[in-house]
Symmetry: C2
Subunit: 418 residues, 2 copies
């Protein structure tokens, strides 16, 4: 279960109510016309899980492996990493996941040195099939581990890409197993396609439950049972001049990668030139509580009133460490927390911070996840994807493309191509 509640000071007026009705009609259209394919992944991707299970049975290498290395960047890694980060402490028997993303030599060296070839499955993920960072790292992996991709070691490699992409053709040429990404699902919406589902299933996570959570959210939303998403989208987009930034404050370290996923989803989907030719969008900022109360809170409280704040918190952690009932001489002032669990402390910090921000007249909302479980992750992902689509509709932009990143790629090519 996830609860959503807001303390928005803004109210819906008639104009916004009718905007909501229109936008709802448009998102129904997006779903029905398949303008984006993410809406139905909760059902569509079940087949992939079955495929993976079958492939795992026939793959003689899998059993000896204890590590899944994902080679990918941006939409090809962020979502998978977010889910792994949330779940890994729960699944002691899951395979270790390692992400080779940035072409940073220090980081790459360290990670590559920690890989044992005999125990590692390599999953290379690129929607276009030619992402320069990813394919370059893939080449390094092939060479460093002397992977005989044309023969003996082909079972050790999995490719995830668009149908008929260069990477797909490469995989086909050498009998490397590949999974396809639906053409109408962009990178940042693709975590529940093969992009995330394949490596997470191989790692040992119960991805069916993640999909069930996603499907459930979509069903509820289109039955009109999650209208708070429409309201939030309407308020955030309408007041975007006043509050151009949305800060997520996640009160759990394991949500840090999830907030990074949100930053991509939100930033890349909404930062666009609108149909009137105007630059528009909302800026996502991710923080972790209570740590960043000691870093970013002062700015929210006393800086310009240009932010909305969304709190994400966990209700029931599974471990329970109590602050010892110990009194240290001269430090008696801190004893008020003795005997409470650290969960209660961090939860109290979240509540106190929310109240203090809200008292300033800043618009806040709270997402409460009752327990860390697969179903909730699927729901949370879809919550944000639906919210993003709706914001896109209300901003009158295409939330599913990213034309702004092409120029940099061209300049890069010119720099190196002689």
């Amino acid at each position: 279960m996830i609860h959503y509640e807001d303390d928005f000071i803004w109210k819906l007026d008639k104009e916004l109510e009718s905007k909501i009705v229109e936008s709802y009609a448009k998102i129904v259209e997006e779903k029905e016309q398949g303008i984006s394919g993410y809406f139905t992944l909760g059902e569509d991707s079940l087949e992939i899980i079955e495929d993976v299970h079958n492939d795992m049975k026939s793959n003689t290498f899998i059993e000896q492996s204890d590590t899944v290395v994902v080679i990918g960047i941006g939409g090809s890694s962020l979502g998978t990493k977010a889910i792994d980060s949330i779940l890994k402490h729960k699944y002691k028997y899951a395979r270790r996941m390692l992400f080779l993303e940035n072409p940073d030599e220090i980081d790459l060296s360290e990670k590559l040195e920690s890989i044992e070839k005999e125990k590692t499955l390599f999953v290379v993920v690129s929607k276009s099939g030619t992402t320069i960072e990813t394919i370059s790292i893939f080449k390094e992996v092939l060479q460093r581990f002397s992977l005989d991709y044309k023969g003996l070691d082909s079972e050790q490699i999995v490719a995830i890409t668009d149908k008929n992409s260069p990477l797909h053709k490469f995989a086909n040429e050498y009998g490397i197993k590949s999974y396809m990404i639906p053409h109408n699902v962009g990178g940042r919406f693709s975590v529940l396609t093969a992009v995330g589902i394949v490596p997470l299933t191989i790692a040992g996570y119960d991805t069916k439950k993640i999909l069930a959570g996603a499907a459930n959210m979509v069903a509820r939303f289109f039955k009109g049972e999650e209208n708070h998403i429409l309201k939030k989208a309407a308020l955030l987009t309408t007041h975007r001049k006043e509050t151009p930034m949305n800060v997520i404050f996640s009160y759990a370290n394991c949500l840090e990668d999830f907030t990074k996923w949100y930053v991509q989803l939100w930033g890349e989907s909404l930062g666009k030139i609108d149909k009137h030719g105007k630059h528009t969008g909302l800026t996502p900022i991710g923080h972790i509580g209570s740590v960043d109360q000691h870093s970013f809170l002062q700015l929210i409280m006393q800086g310009p009133r240009d932010k909305t704040v969304t709190f994400i918190k966990l209700e029931n952690f599974e471990k329970k460490i109590q602050v010892p009932k110990v009194t240290l001489k001269f430090l008696e002032k801190t004893d008020y927390i003795n005997g409470y669990s650290f969960n209660e402390l961090i939860d109290g910090e979240c509540e106190a911070t929310k109240e203090s921000i809200s008292k300033q007249g800043i618009n806040v909302d709270v997402i409460t996840i009752d327990t860390i479980q697969e179903h909730n992750i699927g729901e949370l992902i879809l919550y944000y994807e639906l919210l993003t689509s709706l914001c896109g509709i209300m901003l009158e932009i295409d939330a599913y493309n990213q034309p702004g990143v092409e120029l940099g790629k061209e300049i890069l090519l010119q720099k190196f191509q002689k």
Copy 2:
């Protein structure tokens, strides 16, 4: 060596030139009157290093230790962590550093489980001496490892705090070694006080060189040799309505914690109510390239023109991994990078991204660090601290306090105190 260059489209006019002159006079005053004590830490903290070395000689426990655990949050950990993250790959012989910051049970459990009592020195850091997260975690550490802080194990604990704080008194009571934080250096400016210098020196880093870099930057600035800092502060603060956000794009994973340190420094120092009673400040955002080109770049390129962008890049990494000169069938399109090192790739990405952003008419600047070495870290820290002070002066605020975080602490106390 660090190079600073900007591609600011904004120009200085007469009014700004005279604002710069005034602000320079004020920062000289801040230094001379000791309004903040960070300016002279490059010299002042040398003594601490000597103390630590002496203490290490007489401490019978140190030699057997291979881990330094820092218990602290916010300004008590961020800077230390930033330096450790930048240097640790260089110092194979340094002690492992571990940071217990957030009262998050999952994270705490994992880290606590990785600690071997017999090999670990615990450094508890709290300026006030009563930071609730820190002292609660400290209690847990004492209990879990049965640390006899009143007797046998007192050598295994070090306290860093304000003079006469409750933590200082606690340490004195039991013969626990303590180091003082100067009263006129706030948490986020304190990395080069005992806060960072003590644990980093114990870990084995050459902190003298860090201080030398810091001292050098301060000396150059006050000789008028780093006037670009004044210019940047004047332009960023003057245009704060137009561009309320400054994005740092660091092109190296090892700088991620440094960008977090910058976010605290910038956010907490500048987010204030100014002397006219107005909410003011600039919002800091940290990103890592090239990874976040696949996440945040689209928003910078096509979203609202409300950001300035600062690139931080490394010129000479020490490792050299070449992209293999390998042609994969169907993937020939990616061969243009073959034979170049991954450093050259990431550096090219940085250049290409900078150019593409600059072409949009967005104000960018670039900080180029020639090699990862202690001296440069000291310089970079002081660059940002001086920039922050100057922005504070120009915004007519007190950059050194943080009154906005008190309300949350009060509410927290009310919640738990019965």
